[in-house]
C-alpha cells in the first residue's frame, strides 16, 4: 500500500499538481521530519477528538499535538476545505483522517509521519505498474534495525526532491538518485531517521535505531502492563539500554542512581553482597525495609538465605530487559501486604519472532581497591612511638603495609550467550552466563553460573490460547572474608597491624603473634575461610486464554527453590594457644510457591470511556528450613591438623564434645489474596484508577488475619484540553493518588505459642505470642506532574509524596515473666514514621543529529523523615568491639528522624590534657546526626558521535551522616600503646591526643556522608556488521567507580553495617567493611 502511495505521489508531483509553495514546504517538512521523528516519538498513535464545526486547520493542529504527525498543505488549498464536526476516541490516525476528508474536495497521503494534503484528483488513477524513474545513479541497499532485523516499509527519500523508495520485505530497497551529491533520508515509524551523504557509494546498508519512546512506553504495573500515558501513579522504569554499564553481580545495582526516590546502598564492596534499598525514605522499624521484588510476574521471597549474600544474585543481569519501580501507594497497593517499601518489577528478555539469533558478550577487566583508610606507615609509626612516648619495643624493625598485603588486583570475566528466535506461534530465548569475579581482597570472589529459558507459545487456530514459560537457574559461589569479629576480623586485623612488624617470617611462614596480640591479616586470608554456595531455580508457567479482544484469563504457577550452603573453617595455626582449629557447615533451603489467577477486561464501553479491569486471586506458600553443625578439633590428637585439607571436608574428625548441631523449619507461611483494579479513561483527559487487595496471612492472629489495602488515583491530561494553549509544551498531565499498603515482614510464629526443641533434650516455649497482632499500615499520598516540552525533547516528572507508617510491627519488650531467651514480643506499636519528599526526573535529548547526539538525564530526590507519636523512645545501633559493648547510638524518638544518632556531644580536644571535651562530661546524650540523606542525585548522559558513544552515570547522596565506628574502636589513639596501628589523622592532629582515652561513642565519630560518584563511564564503538557472520558488533571500555568526591574518611561513604538491636534495623554505621573496588573493563558484544 505504501508503495502505491509513493507512486501515486510521484505521479502527482510529475503532473505539477503540487504548487511550488508546497514543494518548498515539503523540503522543509522533510528536514523537519528528520528532527521531529526523534522528538515526535513517544506521542500516541491514537487520536481522540471531540470537535464541532471547526476548520481543518484547527483539526490538523490538534492531531499534530496528539500524534506528532505533521501536515503539509498550502493555505489556498485548505481554503477549499469545509468545517467539520468529529467525535472519536482512541482512533487510529488513518480512521480520523478518513473521517476528516470524507466529503472534502481534498485527499491526503501519509508519508512517514507526514500527512500531505492535496486536491482530489479529477482523473482516474493510472496503472500503478507504471514506473517512470528519473535518470541518475541507481543505489541499492538494505535497511535494518539495531538488532539487524530488516525494516520492511522504511522509506528512503532523496533529500530535496520528491524521489522516494520503500524498503521491501527483506529490508532491501532500490532508488535512483540525481548524483553523488545526493543525500538520502531514511525513516521509519518508531525509529530515528538518518541522513546519508552518498558520495561514490552505490550499495549501502543502513541501520536505524529505535526512537526514544518515553511517553508511549509500555510500563509494567502489578499483574499487567499499562501505557505510561495512562498511568495515574508514580512508576519509574529503566530498560536494559539505560542500565548502569559494567559487570554487576545483582540486578539492583543496574539501576543505582537511575531513578528518583530510590536509594540503593551497596552495604560494602564484597562481590555479591547485599544491598539496602530504600524507596521513598526510611520507614522500616523492623525487618529489612527492602521492597518486594517481582520477577516475570513471580513475587520473590526476598530473604537472604545466607548472610552476606544478595537474594537477587540468581538473576543474570544480562537477561534483564527492564526494571520498573512502583513507588507510590496507588501503584503498589495491588501488591498489598508486601508493598510497604515499594515494589521492584524485573522482566527478563524474551524471544522475538524472526530469524534465530545468537547474541554474545564478553567482558573482561581488572579491579583494585578504590580508597584506603589512612593509617600510619612504618616510618610514621616509628616517629609516632617517639611522639607518644610509648615503649620502643613496639618498633619491630620491619616494614609492612597490611592493607596492601591483603588486597589484590582482581581479574574478572563475564560471558553471556543467548539464542533466541521463533515464529508467530512459538518464541524462545535461551541464555547462559558465567561471571568469575575476583575480589580485591585476597582469596575472595564470586563465581556465578546462570541459565535462563523463556518461551511463549500460542495455540489453536485462533491463537487464543497461549502459554508463557520461564525457567531461571543459577549457582553462585562466594568466597568471603570470614565474618568474625575483632580481633580475627580481616579488616580490623589489617588496619591494626603494626606496620613495623613483618607479616611473614624470614623462612616464609606467617608471623603469627602470641595470643592477645593482633591477628596477622595475611595469615587470616590464607587460614580462615568462609565459602557460600547458593543454588536457585525459579520456574513459572503461565497459560492464558483470550476469550475475545477484551477479556483474558491467565493462570500463573511458579516455584522458586534455593539452597544455600555456608562452610567456614579456622586453621589451628592461627591461634597459637588453641591447637584445635574449628569448622562449620550450614545449609538452608527456601521454597516459595505461587498460584495466581487473573481475569482482565479491557474495552471501550462507549466512545468516551475505556474501561480496563482486573480481578485476581493469589496464593503463596513460603517454606524455609536448614541445619548447621560446627565443631572444633580434638586436642588429644593434635586438633584438625595441618594436612592441607579444608576442615569442613572431614568435620567428623572433630571432638565429639564440642560439636554443635542445629536444625530448624520455619512455620509454613501462607498468604492468600484477592485483588482487583479498575482503570477508567474518559476522553483521554481524565484517568481514574482504583485498586483493592485483601491479604490474609497465616502469620497473624486469628482476629486480624486479613488486611485490606485500597488505593485511588486520578490523572488529568491537561494538554488534551482545548484551552491548553502553550505551544512549547507538548504534553502535560497532573496525577494524584492515595493508598494503603502493608508489611508482614516479621518472623512467623509470633501470634501463637511456639515450643521449640532445644539443645540436649530441652523443650521450651521460645516466643511471647500475641494473638491480636495485625497488619502494619503504610498510607501514602502522591501528587505529580508529567510533561514534555520543546517538541518532546525534554520530558520531566515531578512528584510530591507523603507516606505515614502506623501500627508498626515492632519487636517490643516482653512483659516478664516471659519465655526464656526471647527478648521480644511482637506488637503493633502506636506511632508514626512520616516520610515526605519531592522527586524530580528530567530527560532530554539536547542534541539529536544523525552523526551527533547528546542526551542528558537528571534525577533528584529531596527527602524528610520524622518519627512521631511513639509512646516511648526506641534505641538501636548497637556498637560492637573493644570498649563499646552495650553502647547504643541510634534512637527512634518523637520529633527526630528515624535512626537519629543519639549519643554524647563532642566539642573538641582539650589542648592541655589531650582528652576529648564532651558536653555535660559525657553523661548526657544528644541528637547529633541524621543517617538519612536529604537529597539523592543521579545524572546520566550519553554523547554519541557517529559510531562512538560515551555514556556517563553518576550518583550522589547528600545530607546524611555516618557513624564511623572504625575510627572509634579499631584505629583509635590507644592502639599505639598496645602495639597496634592508629589512624594517620590522629597522629597529624594539631592537638596531641592522650593515649589513654576511653573508647566512648560521641559525635566525634560522626562524619558527613555526602558523596558524588562516577559510578560508570563507558566508551563504546559500534563496529556494526563484520563480514557476513558478525552483526551488531560493539566494543567498549567501561570504568566502574572511577572516582568519588567525598570528605568521608572510611573506605566508602556508601556503607551500611547491620548493627540492629532485637530486629530494629540500624542505618549509616560503618565498621571496617570490605572496601569498594575500582574496575576497568573491556568488552565486546555481537550477534550471529
Amino acid at each position: 500500500m505504501q508503495l502505491s502511495i509513493h507512486r501515486q505521489f510521484w505521479k502527482l508531483a510529475q503532473r505539477g499538481l503540487l504548487k511550488t509553495l508546497l514543494i518548498m514546504k515539503l523540503t522543509t517538512a522533510f528536514l523537519l521530519a528528520a528532527c521531529l521523528s526523534a522528538s515526535a516519538k513517544g506521542l500516541s498513535q491514537e487520536v481522540t477528538l471531540s470537535e464541532k464545526n471547526v476548520s481543518l486547520n484547527q483539526i490538523f493542529k490538534e492531531i499534530n499535538r496528539q500524534t506528532g504527525y505533521t501536515f503539509v498543505y498550502t493555505e489556498s488549498l485548505l481554503e477549499k476545505g469545509k468545517s467539520i464536526t468529529i467525535n472519536v476516541r482512541n482512533a487510529s490516525i488513518e480512521q480520523v483522517l478518513e473521517l476528516c476528508f470524507k466529503d472534502q474536495p481534498l485527499t491526503y497521503t501519509i508519508l512517514n509521519k507526514m500527512v500531505v494534503v492535496k486536491e482530489k484528483p479529477s482523473i482516474s488513477r493510472p496503472d500503478v505498474a507504471e514506473n517512470v524513474a528519473p535518470p541518475g545513479i541507481k543505489i541499492t541497499g538494505k535497511i535494518t534495525n539495531d538488532i539487524s532485523d530488516p525494516l520492511s516499509g522504511a522509506s528512503v527519500a532523496e533529500k530535496g526532491t520528491n524521489n522516494i523508495a520503500i524498503a521491501k520485505e527483506d529490508g532491501s530497497f532500490e532508488i535512483t538518485v540525481a548524483g553523488e551529491k545526493s543525500i538520502l533520508l531514511i525513516s521509519y515509524v518508531g525509529y530515528e531517521s538518518k541522513e546519508i551523504s552518498l558520495g561514490n557509494q552505490t550499495t549501502i546498508s543502513i541501520k536505524l535505531n529505535p526512537a526514544n519512546q518515553a511517553l508511549s512506553d509500555i510500563v509494567v504495573v502489578g499483574y499487567g502492563t499499562a501505557k505510561k500515558k495512562d498511568l495515574t501513579g508514580a512508576v519509574a522504569s529503566v530498560s536494559s539500554k539505560d542500565f548502569n554499564k559494567g559487570n554487576y553481580a545483582t540486578a539492583d545495582q543496574l539501576i543505582q542512581g537511575k531513578m528518583s526516590g530510590v536509594q540503593i546502598i551497596n552495604n560494602n564492596g564484597q562481590p555479591g553482597n547485599t544491598t539496602t534499598i530504600k524507596i521513598r525514605g526510611n520507614s522500616a522499624m523492623t525487618g529489612t525495609g527492602q521492597p518486594l521484588f517481582v520477577l516475570d510476574g513471580v513475587p520473590l521471597d526476598g530473604r537472604s538465605l545466607l548472610a552476606n549474600t544478595n537474594p537477587l544474585n540468581f538473576i543474570n543481569p544480562a537477561d534483564i530487559a527492564s526494571i520498573d519501580v512502583l513507588k507510590d501507594a496507588s501503584a503498589t497497593a495491588i501488591y498489598g501486604s508486601r508493598a510497604a517499601y515499594g515494589v521492584v518489577i524485573i522482566n527478563t528478555k524474551k524471544g522475538q519472532a524472526g530469524i534465530t539469533r545468537i547474541e554474545a558478550n564478553v567482558t573482561n577487566g581488572v579491579s583494585t581497591i578504590a580508597r584506603k583508610i589512612k593509617v600510619l606507615n612504618a616510618q610514621q609509626y616509628r616517629q609516632a612511638i617517639t611522639y607518644y612516648n610509648v615503649s620502643p619495643l613496639s618498633d619491630k624493625g620491619g616494614n609492612a603495609d597490611a592493607l596492601d598485603a591483603i588486597t589484590q588486583t582482581g581479574i574478572q570475566q563475564n560471558y553471556n550467550l543467548a539464542v533466541s528466535g521463533g515464529n508467530e506461534t512459538g518464541k524462545y530465548r535461551v541464555s547462559l552466563g558465567i561471571l568469575d569475579q575476583d575480589g580485591i581482597v585476597r582469596k575472595t570472589g564470586l563465581k556465578k553460573y546462570s541459565a535462563g529459558l523463556a518461551t511463549n507459545f500460542k495455540f489453536l487456530e485462533s491463537k487464543k490460547l497461549g502459554l508463557d514459560l520461564n525457567v531461571n537457574g543459577s549457582q553462585s559461589l562466594q568466597d568471603i572474608p570470614y565474618t568474625a569479629s575483632a580481633p580475627y576480623g580481616l579488616f580490623f586485623a589489617a588496619l591494626q597491624w603494626n606496620p613495623t612488624d613483618s607479616l611473614k617470617k624470614a623462612d616464609g611462614s606467617f608471623n603469627i603473634r602470641p595470643s592477645g596480640s593482633n591477628a596477622n591479616p595475611l595469615a587470616l586470608t590464607e587460614l580462615q575461610k568462609e565459602n557460600l554456595k547458593t543454588s536457585t531455580i525459579l520456574a513459572s508457567i503461565s497459560p492464558y486464554y483470550k476469550f475475545n479482544n477484551w477479556l483474558e484469563y491467565r493462570l500463573q504457577m511458579s516455584i522458586n527453590y534455593s539452597s544455600g550452603i555456608r562452610r567456614t573453617s579456622t586453621n589451628q595455626a592461627l591461634v597459637p594457644n588453641l591447637l584445635t582449629g574449628a569448622a562449620s557447615i550450614g545449609n538452608s533451603e527456601l521454597t516459595t510457591q505461587q498460584i495466581t489467577h487473573t481475569l482482565s477486561f479491557n474495552k471501550e464501553i462507549s466512545p468516551n470511556i475505556t474501561l480496563s479491569a482486573l480481578a485476581g486471586y493469589e496464593y503463596m506458600k513460603f517454606k524455609m528450613k536448614g541445619f548447621s553443625m560446627s565443631a572444633t578439633g580434638r586436642t588429644s590428637t593434635g586438633g584438625f591438623g595441618n594436612y592441607g585439607l579444608d576442615y569442613t571436608n572431614y568435620i567428623q574428625y572433630s571432638d565429639a564434645n564440642g560439636r554443635i548441631i542445629t536444625s530448624f523449619v520455619d512455620p509454613l507461611t501462607e498468604l492468600q489474596s484477592f485483588f482487583g483494579r479498575t482503570m477508567v479513561n474518559l476522553k483521554e483527559k481524565y484517568l481514574l484508577t482504583a485498586t483493592i487487595r485483601a491479604d490474609g496471612s497465616s502469620k497473624f492472629g486469628k482476629n486480624n488475619r486479613y488486611g485490606y489495602f485500597p488505593s485511588f488515583s486520578a490523572a488529568w491530561v491537561v494538554s488534551n484540553e482545548k484551552f491548553f494553549k502553550p505551544s512549547f509544551v507538548n504534553s502535560f498531565k497532573i496525577r494524584a493518588g492515595w493508598g494503603k499498603t502493608g508489611n508482614q515482614e516479621f518472623p512467623s510464629g509470633a501470634s501463637q505459642a511456639k515450643y521449640s526443641f532445644l539443645n540436649n533434650g530441652v523443650i521450651g516455649q521460645v516466643n511471647n505470642p500475641n494473638p491480636d497482632l495485625k497488619w502494619q499500615s503504610d498510607e501514602q499520598y502522591n501528587v505529580g506532574v508529567d510533561f514534555t516540552i520543546l517538541h518532546n525533547r525534554v520530558s520531566a516528572t515531578i512528584d510530591y509524596f507523603h507516606k505515614t507508617t502506623t501500627d508498626l510491627l515492632f519487636p517490643s519488650f516482653p512483659v516478664q515473666p516471659s519465655s526464656p531467651g526471647s527478648v521480644v514480643r511482637w506488637i503493633n506499636l502506636d506511632g508514626n514514621i512520616i516520610n515526605k519528599g519531592v522527586e524530580v526526573a528530567i530527560n532530554s535529548a539536547l542534541i539529536d543529529h544523525s552523526d551527533f547526539s547528546l542526551e542528558l538525564g537528571v534525577n533528584a530526590t529531596f527527602l524528610k523523615n520524622t518519627v512521631s507519636n511513639f509512646p516511648t523512645a526506641i534505641q538501636t545501633g548497637r556498637l560492637e568491639g573493644l570498649g563499646v559493648t552495650g553502647a547504643l547510638i541510634e534512637i527512634m524518638r518523637n520529633g527526630l528522624p528515624a535512626n537519629a544518632f543519639y549519643t554524647r556531644k563532642y566539642l573538641g580536644m582539650d589542648k592541655g590534657t589531650g582528652r576529648p571535651i564532651l558536653v555535660d562530661d559525657g553523661t548526657t546524650s544528644y541528637y547529633v546526626g541524621d543517617p538519612n540523606p536529604n537529597m539523592l542525585l543521579g545524572v546520566s548522559s550519553t554523547l554519541r558521535y557517529k559510531k562512538l558513544s560515551l555514556v556517563v552515570n553518576m550518583n550522589g547522596v547528600f545530607g546524611n551522616d555516618i557513624f564511623n565506628s572504625t575510627n572509634l574502636n579499631i584505629i583509635n589513639v590507644g592502639g599505639i600503646n598496645a602495639g597496634r596501628n592508629i589512624a594517620l589523622d590522629i597522629y597529624k592532629a594539631p592537638v596531641k591526643e592522650s593515649l589513654f582515652n576511653n573508647v566512648t561513642a560521641s559525635s566525634r565519630y560522626i562524619e558527613k556522608g555526602n558523596y558524588l560518584r562516577m559510578s560508570n563511564l563507558t566508551l563504546s564503538y559500534n563496529i556494526g556488521d563484520v563480514a557476513k557472520a558478525f552483526k551488531r558488533a560493539n566494543v567498549f571500555v567501561t570504568g566502574q567507580n572511577l572516582f568519588i568526591i567525598t570528605k568521608y574518611s572510611g573506605f566508602d561513604p556508601e556503607v551500611n553495617v547491620d548493627r540492629s538491636l532485637n530486629g530494629v534495623p540500624s542505618l549509616g554505621i560503618d565498621y571496617a567493611q570490605y572496601p569498594s573496588a575500582r574496575t576497568i573493563l573491556i568488552g565486546l558484544n555481537f550477534s550471529l
Binding site: 613496639s394 588453641l578 501462607e670 515450643y755 519488650f813 526464656p820
Partner: protein, 519 residues
Amino acid sequence: MLRKILILTACILSSLIYSCTKLEERYEGDLTASQVGGSGSSNTTALLEGVYTSLRRTFTNHVEVFALSVQTTDEAMVPTRGPDWDDDGQWRQLHQHKWEETHVKLRDVFNRFGGTIFAATDLLRYNPTQQQEAEARFLRAWSMYWLLDLFDQVPYRDPGESVIQPARIRKGSEALDYIISEIEAIAPALPDGPAYIANKWAAKTLLMKCYLNKGVYANRANPTFSAADMNKVISLADEIINSNKFSFSANYFDNFAPNNTAIGKENIFTQLDVAGVYPDNRMRNTWVLPLHGSQGGSNGVATLPTFYNKFEATDKRRQANYPTTGSPANPGNRVTVGFLVGQQYNLTTDVPLKTNAGLPVIFVPEVKSIETDANLELTGIRPIKYPIDYTNRDSPDNDFVYFRLADVLLMKAEAILRGGTGTSAGIYGNTALAIVNSIRTDPARNASALASINLDVLLDERGRELWWENWRRNDFIRFGKFLLPFEQKNYTSDPKYLVFPIPSEQIAVNTNMKQNTGY
C-alpha cells in the same frame, strides 16, 4: 459463546478448588501448646530440663548476676583500660553506684530470671510428676529469690496466663513469704541429690538465706534480725550438717575444678556443666574476663587491693598451683588459681609474658576506675576461682556452684552472732568462733585460727571463703556496708541503691509495676 462461558466457569471453579485456605499457621519443626501437652510425661522431662537450662547463662556468663552482685562491692571492678572496657560506662556505674533504670545489665538479669519463672510456671500446665513439679517450683523460688534480692519486686503469672497482659507483682516481705511457703510446700517431694538438681538440701539452704535476710527485705536500710528467724537458720544448718552428705574437700579448689561434679564434696547445689555439651555454658568467662590478652583473656575484671589484703599469705584460698587434666607443664610452679598478681608466665615454657607492645606482664594491685597510664593493661589483681578446663576451654566442665557447705556453716555462725542459740552439729563446734575456725583451719584452707569474732570479722571471712560466689552484695547489705565508701567509690551512696531500679522496659510494658523509690 457457550464454549467461552464454559471455559470461564471452569477457570473460576479450578481457582476456587485450589484456593481459599484457612490460613492456619502450622509448625513443622516446633510444637503448639496442645502438642506439648498431648503425649505424656516425657515432654515434662524435656520442659523441666528447659527450666534448668534457662538458669545456666544467668550465672555462668559472669557479666549478669555476677556484675550486679559482685562488681557493686569491694570485691571486684572492671576498670576502663584506655581504649578498652569503657562500654558506655556500664561497669563504672555499677562499681560506683551510679546506675540508672536503663542499665543494660539490669535489663538482662531481670529478663533471665523472668524467663526461668515463666518456664517453671509453664511446666505446671502439663501434668508433671510430683518430683518434677517440686523441682520446677524450687527453681522458680530460687529465681524469685534473686529478683527479690536485687529488685525487691517479683512479677508472676498463673500457668497458662497470656504473656501479653501485665503480670502481677509481689514485693518485699510478701514476696519472701511466698518464696518460703513454696519451698516448705515442695521440700518433701524433692530428691536427696545429686547437687546439680534441685534437692532437699538446696531447699534448706535457700530457706536459710530467706530467714537470715528476712529483716533485710523488710527494711534494707535498717535491718533487724529476730532470734526466731536466727534459730530457724541454725536448725536448718544443723539438718544439712547432720545429713553427713557434705564435707570439706581435700583442696579448696576441688569444689570449682572441671571435675567438681565428682570431687566437690562441699557442693550442695550447682548448675551442671558438661564439657562441650551445653551451648549456653559460659563458664569460660570466669577466666577469660580477668586474664590478660597474652594469657588468652580479655583483660577485664580485677579485684581491689584491700579485698586481696584480707587474706593471710598462707591462706590456700588466696592462690595455688592447681593442675587440671590437660593443663600445661608449669615448670616454674606458677600460681594458676586464686588471685594472680605480679609477673605472669607462659605456663608451658615458663617464659615471662610480654604485652603486644613489649612490656612485661606484671599485674600491679593498684587499680583505678579509669586507667590512663602506660601500664593500663596491667593494673589490678586477677582472680581465677574456677580452675581452667584446658581440654574444653570454650565449653568447660566446671559446674557453677550456688550453695556450698562453708556458706551454710558461715550462715549458722552469723545467726548465732545475731542472737540465735548455738547448737552442736557435726564436727564444726557450737559457737560462731568455733565454726569459723573449723573452716579456716581446715587443711584445704590453712588459715590461722581466729582469737575472737564479731560481725565485721565474720563478714571478712565470708568474703575470703565465698569470693566470686555472688554473695558479696547480699552480705554487704545485711551487714550495713553496701552504701559505705570502698575502694574506687570514695563516698556513701544514696540509700536508693540498696535495690536496683526496675528496668525501664518493664515499667513501660507492665502497668502493675511501679518504679522503686528514688529512681
